[in-house]
């Protein structure tokens, strides 16, 4: 599996969730390949309903993967305005195309300017992702 981290995305450094600002308010989110490597193939996924408010660093859904069940942590605060129905019915799409058809949800975030300061993007992505790859290999999350 290749671990690619596009510099135009914003990454939650701890939980490996990516963000793509699509307008001043709308942020598309998904799980990055390293986050998926630690989980294994996704079998089930649930997301909080459309219209619900989520808080940065707090659960916004749950998942069951080959290796465990766990919570999906919101990378930024906001309101869920769209959920990807395709991945809710076929979570394996997230493993197949984590940056494409496997996106999870769109948030309307008024706190993006503040919350995004906690995320890594642009030129900083390479150094961060290299460190993470090293850490994941040392801990046996990936080969």
């Amino acid at each position: 599996m290749s671990y690619h981290f596009p510099e135009h995305l914003f990454f939650d450094k701890k939980h490996h969730v990516w963000c793509l600002p699509e307008s001043d308010l709308l942020i598309r989110i998904g799980i990055d390949p390293l986050g998926l490597a630690s989980l294994g193939d996704l079998a089930y996924l649930s997301l909080n309903p459309n219209g619900s408010e989520v808080i940065q660093g707090q659960p916004m859904g749950m998942l069951e993967a080959a290796k465990m069940t766990g919570e999906l942590i919101a990378p930024v605060g906001g309101k869920i305005v769209e959920r990807n129905q395709v991945v809710l019915q076929d979570p394996y799409q997230v493993n197949r195309e984590p940056y494409g058809a496997g996106w999870l949800a769109v948030l309307e975030s008024e706190s993006w300017n503040e919350d995004s300061k906690q995320l890594v993007t642009g030129q900083d992505v390479d150094a961060w992702s290299q460190e993470e790859l090293k850490r994941y290999r040392e801990q046996g999350w990936i080969d």
Binding site: S38, Y44, S46, E64, K67, T69, G70, G140
Partner: protein
């Protein structure tokens, strides 16, 4: 190092589940050291996995008639029956000895359980996503749940004993269609501490042995412990906001449950494969029909494909590893035939593409209609 030890008996389903999850959260938040909780549920509680469809998995009418409580676990896997003869083993921790990944923690958790069983002379091993087995017969179901605070809940339902006919009636298995031979086949793939030891060991004896095994394996001292007032409050809040709520217990799941079947003649005889799937993921495979192969090797095939990708290449890769180990016992059952018929069963499940009503139990493989048992 000192960990907490909590011992409880005959807890309600909602309290039992809430205490596991609330304590794992507090351990993650560093409000408590690691906790080992060895406990039993009030007989009986039928508990489905985190994302299972309860109406597909449980015979709710039977559960109601028998006054069995039903609930939903935070951990994944299949439906289980918990009562006074099943030991709940819950370990809540953030990390241990530098190990922080779920895979590593699960391996050590399973190893400590195996060491505990070995004290009784029972040689168990961990396999697949969540199986603790003795020579291919399942004796425990394991699960792991991670939370936002960085805590892990590792859980095992360890069979000190099990009323198999009761379990089959509580789970949504078409039991009226099961003949004696088929019941025997299911019972042949499950075991318990009492069955292995051929004596009536008490649950407390098993519990005390497990506590000692965990202490030795993890090199920790256990401090007998009760819940603090803050912990009781957190557990109460978890119970009332989740495990007593119908919204949680009967929640809908978007991923469809599918089932399919396929048959093929092989040099070993007729191979009849049934699969149940969660979307694209195989939940379980059952190999039936009329063929010659070592029963434990057949159980190994089934065990290695529980919660497995349904992609043909990945199935083939897994089976190649298994065949390399059990070449002799599977000599008359060519891997090509097994891969092909499993793939056809997967295709048939996808083609049918509608919700199955066939349940997947933690301790029972899928049986559909008139599926025949394996002849060895």
């Amino acid at each position: 190092m000192q960990w907490r030890y909590i011992c409880e008996d005959r807890v309600s389903d909602s309290f039992g589940l809430a205490a596991d999850e609330a304590m794992a959260l507090r351990v993650g938040e560093k409000l408590s050291p690691s906790v080992l909780r060895l406990y039993t549920y009030r007989s009986c509680s039928a508990l489905v996995g985190r994302f299972q469809r309860i109406e597909n998995e449980l015979n709710l009418d039977f559960c109601r008639e028998q006054k069995m409580s039903v609930n939903r676990r935070p951990t994944g896997g299949g439906a289980i029956l918990m009562g006074e003869d099943q030991l709940g083993v819950a370990l809540m921790l953030r990390d241990w000895n530098g190990y922080k990944t779920p895979r590593e923690l699960m391996r050590h958790f399973a190893s400590s359980l195996c060491e505990g069983l070995l004290i009784f002379g029972i040689k168990a091993q961990f396999r697949g996503k969540n199986d603790l087995e003795v020579e291919g017969r399942k004796i425990g179901g394991l699960g792991i749940h991670s939370n936002a605070s960085g805590g892990y809940l590792l859980h095992c339902s360890l069979l000190v004993d099990l009323d198999v006919p009761l379990m089959l009636r509580a789970l949504n298995v078409p039991v009226e269609k099961l003949e004696a031979r088929q019941l025997q086949s299911i019972e042949g793939r499950i075991t318990s501490v009492r069955r292995e030891l051929k004596k009536d060991s008490s649950l407390n004896e098993v519990r005390d042995t497990m506590r000692r095994a965990f202490s030795s394996y993890f090199a920790v001292e256990f401090e007998q412990s009760c819940y603090s007032p803050e912990e009781k409050k957190a557990i109460g809040e978890m119970e009332s906001s989740r495990y007593l709520k119908k919204d949680w217990i009967y929640q809908k799941v978007d991923v469809p449950d599918l089932s399919g079947e396929a048959r093929q003649m092989t040099p070993a005889g007729l191979l009849d494969v049934r699969v149940t799937m969660a979307g694209r993921q195989i939940k379980a495979v059952f190999l039936g029909g009329d063929f010659f192969a070592e029963e434990s090797a057949v159980s190994d095939i089934e065990g290695s494909l529980r919660w497995h990708s349904s992609e043909s290449e990945q199935i083939r890769r897994t089976l190649e590893l298994l065949y390399a180990k059990r070449e002799e016992e599977l000599a008359f059952l060519p891997i090509e035939n097994v891969c092909e018929v499993i793939s056809k069963a997967v295709e048939s499940a996808r083609a049918i593409s509608q919700d199955s009503t066939v349940g997947y139990g933690c301790f029972v493989n899928p049986k559909i209609g008139d599926a025949e048992p394996v002849h060895t």
